[in-house]
């Protein structure tokens, strides 16, 4: 049977081996070179439609030093080392004003993945509900 490398593959690089610190720094350097603001976000609710992960800090609009940005990743890891953490790069230029990059830099030790519940509806229609097994528990006790 073929298996994906992971059961949660959001972000730009989830099919590759986990990024080393050096690789993360290089991506941050690229984002800064483009004039984008890097931010760090974490969550215990990785549902594909969870648009609002918690903000570790505001987007670092004025930080041009990749090492300083990477330090925020490290700090976030110290506190939330068993949650999902991602690095985003925000491009505020006209006609984008949205994310230009987003990749995961930290994962829980155990990733239970997502369940799919089906409810039979009219005709042969099925209503689907996707939920992370972890979010069956209240926040703080999920991972």
């Amino acid at each position: 049977m073929h298996e994906n490398p992971r059961n949660m593959t959001q972000g730009q690089f989830s099919f590759l081996p986990p990024l080393t610190d050096d690789q993360i720094k290089k991506q941050i350097t690229y984002a800064i070179s483009k004039g984008w603001a890097v931010s760090v976000e974490y969550t215990d609710d990785p549902h594909p439609r969870n648009s609002y992960w918690e903000m570790w800090c505001q987007p670092m609009f004025d930080t041009k030093d990749a090492a300083a940005v990477f330090m925020e990743v490290q700090e976030c890891r110290k506190v939330y080392g068993n949650l999902y953490i991602k690095v985003n790069a925000f491009d505020n230029t006209r006609w984008r004003e949205s994310l230009a990059m987003s990749f995961i830099v930290n994962r829980p030790k155990v990733e239970p993945g997502f369940g799919l519940a089906r409810t039979e509806a009219e005709g042969r229609t099925i209503r689907y509900r996707i939920s992370s097994y972890a979010t069956d528990k209240p926040t703080g006790k999920r991972y």
């Binding site: 730009q12 989830s14 690789q23 594909p48 006609w95 994310l99 042969r124 099925i126």
Partner: protein
Amino acid sequence: MSKATGSKELTGATRYKSGVLEYKQMGYWQPDYVPKDTDVICLFRITPQPGVDADEAAAAVAGESSTATWTVVWTDRLTAADNYRAKAYRVDPVPNAPDQFFAYIAYDLDLFEGGSIPNLTASIIGNVFGFKAVKALRLEDMRIPVAYLKTFDGPPTGVIVERERLDKYGRPLLGATTKPKLGLSGRNYGRVVYEALKGGLDFTKDDENINSQPFMHWRDRFLYCMEGVNRAAAASGEVKGHYLNVTAATMEEMYERAEFAKNLGSVIIMIDLVIGYTAITSMSKWARKNDMILHLHRAGNSTYARQKNHGINFRVICKWMRMAGVDHIHAGTVVGKLEGDPLTVKGFYDTLLEPHTPKKLEHGLFFDQDWASLKKCMPVASGGIHAGQMHQLIHHLGEDVVLQFGGGTIGHPDGIQAGAEANRVALEAMIMARNEGEDYLAKGPEILAKAAKSCKPLQHALDTWKNITFNYASTDTVDFVPQATPAR
């Protein structure tokens, strides 16, 4: 038609004397005309019949695409006729084609109904392409004035919002068309969708001719596809989609299929170019109202877009479709199995994606075009591409594109999921290398080989398709070569 050299525009009673005049005499050739900012400007490639000079042929095209008929009519004098006449104002030789020339023709804004591609095209390409005085005619480009663009809604979703809805940034999206195109039952069809999406693709797609045939009813297809989409979303924690083709014989039927797709929770539906400009615009309005991404397959376009001397250049179709409002449109792969010269394709992509496209003859763009805040339309590259070309695809097509590997996913020796994974790994590795500052185009094969060390499916994909290329000369190429400028 007689040779018209020297004939000038006539005025007053002489102009409206019953009989047949040359188009130039009727006022359709105005070499001193300065186009207004609100004019629609067309660039035609004209091959006149022998004996017809350039000015007269251009005037004839202007006439036949606006107010003229074959003989003088007095009822013109009941109108401000000068205003409604299209004006040919410039003719240029075509490099390396002595029998052809480029004609610039300006049309007053009031010739067109707002928000209506059918009305625009009924004028511009309505009668004139069958006109006897020209041997062949091609609409190469159009400058659409901001005033007219503002009467169109444009893409219902656009690239930026599509990415936000899908939560996918900083890389091309990946797709695959379900194969075989014809014959699969709904249940078997959904299997391909599930496998490809679970393996790592973002989208799968109905083919252009999958509607509701005896082997598979459309409702069956929609139901099984959504099972595949949702299972794959749960297996990956990602938003996934399948372009459900709602193309049908009537608008009523298309709306019914689109509603069903919405009720099943699909993020995207699909239509074919052959449904026509009115139907496309209607589906765009529907998509806007129902939070739906709208994918357009350019089925049929090569019947008129491919040959260089006659028809419509695809860049014009791109413009019309961005105005009519589609979110995705197939626009060429450069390296795949279908027609696509790199510079010409670059012109298509810029036309779909840029807020402003400057005149760039070497990309086939003849005008400065301000897009008046119409959203970006995502180009789709589909047809004969595979993971081994990833560096070239990113180099030629950039980041805002859906790369569709149909055969390149489903034909993988280890199965569909493995094929999808190979494509995803190749893509992520290449984007990572690019961002790290690698010369990824030159080192592409090296980067892929390295990524394949920890991904067997990619290694097998590279082994299977390593020598597959489609090196045929393009039919539709640009006429102007870039000028070399000295390095600074």
